[in-house]
Symmetry: C2
Subunit: 339 residues, 2 copies
C-alpha cells in the first residue's frame, strides 16, 4: 500500500501553544503523525511518498473563498492588531439568530469557527494546506489504478465545513479528496469511522446526491460535536437519503460496532460508488483519552477487513486518535487489512 505523508504538519506546532499567557494543552499534536509514520516504516507497509501540489483549486471546490482567505491571513491580521504574534482563538460565535457577517477579523474569528479549542498558529495554514495535498495525492494514486492508498493527514479535517472550522480541523481533507475523485460525475462514498461525528463532511455534501456520507460515531447527545450527528440527519434536497448517521452509545464494543458497520457497508454497496474515502479515526479504540468506545486492536483489524471486503478503490484519510503510544500499532493493524 502506498502512503502519502508530508513533514509540513509540524508547522502546526500545537505542542507549544499559549492561550492568554498560559499553556494550551491539546491532544492533537505533531507526535501523532510521527508515531504513525515511524510504525509504518518499521512494518515496511509500503512506499512513502511526498504529496504533490494541486494548488488552491480543489480546496475552493469545497470551501468558501472568504473562509479560506481568513484561515490564511488571520494569524497575521491578529498579530498586527495586537502588536504581537500569538495563537488565535475565537471567543464569540455567530450562533442562532445572528444577523450579520462582520467585516473585521475579530468578529470573523467566531463567524468562521464553532469551537474555542482549535488555535490558528503561524504555520497552521501551511500545515492544513499540505494535509489537503496529502489526501489529493493519495486520490491521484487511486485514479492511476491503486486499490487502496493511505493519506497520513495532519491536521485532521472532518469537522471543517464549507465555511467554518473547529475540533482540531481547518480544511476538510476527506471532503476535498472526495470531490476531487468525483470530478466528471463519478459517485463517491465517504465512510467516517472516527469516534466523533464528521459534521463538516456531512454539511459539505448534505444536498449532494453524488457523494454519500456514512458515519459511525459517539452519540452527539453526550459527545462532541453535539449539534450534528443524529440518525434523523439524512441529507436534503437532491442529497436526501445520501447521508446516514449511526450514533453509538458509550463503551460500544467490537461486536456491536461491527454489526452497525455492516449496515453502513450495505448502504454504501447499494449506493454503488466508484471510489471510497475512509475517514479513519483511531479514537474509537479502548483507552483513547478523547474517545469512549471499547474497540480492541483485533476489532480494528476486523473493521479494516470488512471495509476492504467491499473491494472499492479506497483512500484512507487519517482523522483523530490520541493515544499517542498506541497510534502506530493501530495504524499498522488497520492498514494491513487492506493489503
Amino acid at each position: 500500500m502506498r502512503i502519502v505523508y508530508s513533514e509540513k504538519h509540524k508547522l502546526h506546532a500545537t505542542d507549544e501553544v499559549l492561550k492568554e499567557g498560559n499553556p494550551f494543552i491539546t491532544e492533537e499534536i505533531p507526535a501523532r503523525a510521527e508515531k504513525i509514520l515511524s510504525a509504518i516504516r518499521s512494518a515496511h507497509l509500503g512506499t512513502i511518498t511526498e504529496p504533490s501540489d494541486h494548488g488552491l483549486e480543489p480546496i475552493l471546490a469545497v470551501h468558501d473563498a472568504d473562509f479560506v482567505h481568513h484561515l490564511r491571513e488571520v494569524y497575521f491580521e491578529n498579530a498586527a492588531y495586537w502588536g504581537k504574534p500569538e495563537a488565535v482563538f475565537p471567543h464569540a460565535f455567530a450562533v442562532r439568530q445572528s444577523r450579520r457577517k462582520p467585516r473585521g477579523f475579530l468578529g470573523q474569528l467566531g463567524y468562521y469557527a464553532f469551537s474555542s479549542g482549535t488555535p490558528i498558529l503561524e504555520g497552521t495554514w501551511e500545515a492544513a494546506y499540505w494535509s489537503v495535498q496529502t489526501a489529493l495525492t493519495a486520490a491521484d494514486f487511486l485514479l492511476a489504478g491503486d486499490r487502496s492508498v493511505y493519506a497520513l493527514c495532519r491536521p485532521p479535517g472532518h469537522h471543517a465545513a464549507r465555511d467554518f472550522y473547529g475540533g482540531f480541523c481547518y480544511l476538510n481533507n476527506a471532503a476535498i479528496a472526495a470531490r476531487y475523485l468525483g470530478t466528471g460525475g463519478a459517485r463517491v462514498a465517504i465512510l467516517d469511522l472516527d469516534y466523533h461525528h464528521g459534521n463538516g463532511t456531512q454539511e459539505i455534501f448534505y444536498d449532494d446526491p453524488l457523494v454519500m456520507f456514512c458515519s459511525l460515531h459517539a452519540d452527539p447527545d453526550e459527545n462532541y460535536p453535539y449539534y450534528w450527528g443524529g440518525a434523523d440527519e439524512v441529507g436534503e434536497g437532491p442529497g436526501k437519503g445520501a447521508n446516514r448517521n449511526w450514533p453509538l452509545p458509550r463503551d460500544t464494543d467490537d461486536e456491536s460496532y461491527l454489526q452497525t458497520l455492516e449496515l453502513a457497508l450495505d448502504a454504501i454497496l447499494t449506493f454503488s460508488p466508484e471510489h471510497l474515502v475512509v475517514s479513519a479515526g483511531f479514537d474509537i479504540l479502548a483507552g483513547d483519552p478523547v474517545g469512549g468506545f471499547a474497540i480492541t486492536n483485533d476489532g480494528l483489524r476486523r473493521i479494516g477487513c470488512l471495509v476492504a471486503s467491499l473491494d472499492i478503490p479506497t483512500v484512507i484519510v487519517q482523522e483523530g486518535g490520541y493515544a499517542i503510544e498506541h497510534l502506530g500499532e493501530y495504524a499498522v493493524t488497520f492498514l494491513k487489512s487492506f493489503s
Copy 2:
C-alpha cells in the same frame, strides 16, 4: 431618585475564577457595583431599597424555560459529571447549520451560549435572579408613580437573548423589566446606551410592535457582539420599524454622540411609549478598558439631561462600564440628570 440594589450580586464572584486551572481575568467583577453603590451613598442621591421577589414568572415571560433550567442547574450538573466543582465555560457552539439540540448538558453549554468568556459559577444563578428582581422592583416604583428609578443591576443583562447568554450577561434585566412594564398592552421603549450593542434585547423584541428597541453602540464590524447591531436591523413581522440601531465609529466624541442620540430620542417620541427603560453602560466614557469612545463626564451629564427631557417615566438599568475607579462618579453624574 430611588435606587434598588441587592448584595446578592457578590455571589457571582468573578474575581476568583479559574479556567482550566489558570486565573480567568475579567472586567465584570463585584467591585463594579460596590463602587457605584458607595458613590451613590456619598452623594445622597436617594433612598436605597432592597429588591422584592417577583418569582420566576416575569423571567419566563422573556426567556425559554429550558434555558432558564440550564442556567440554574448546569453548574451542579458539571460538578457531578467531572467530580469537582469548577467554573463552567462552553467550548463548542451551535453555529450556522447546526441540526440538533443535544440532550446532555455538555452540548447544551454551547447551545445556550454565544461566547466563551462568560463563566457560570456556583452563585451565578442566584446573582442573576436577584439582578432581575432589582430591575423588576425598580419597575414597581415606576408603576407606583416615580418618574425615574435606578436599578443597580449586576450581572448585566442586555447580551442575553431568549435562549442564549454571553458577554457577561445571563438574564436580560432590561428586557424583563420592559415586558413587565408592558403587561396589559402598554407601549415601552428601551434605549440602550451601552458601548456594545444590546443584541439580546434586540432579539427578544425583534418581532414585537409594542416594545421599541433603540441602541447607540460601537460599530459591530469591529466590536463585540459582532453578529448583531447593523443599522439595517429594523425588526421583523409586526415589529418591523420598532428596532433601530445606530452603530458609531471608534473615538466617537460628545458632539457626535449627542447628535445621534437626538435621532434616537425623536424615534422614541414618535413611538410614544408610556414607559422608558434605559440600558445604561458607562463603557462609553473615554478610557474604559473595554470601550473605545471618547465621551467625557460632561458629555455623560448632557446625555442624561437629554434623555430626562423626554419626560417619560424611566427605569435606568445598569449594564456595562469597567473603569472601576471612575464608575461611581459616572453613575452619580448620569443619575443626577434625572432628578
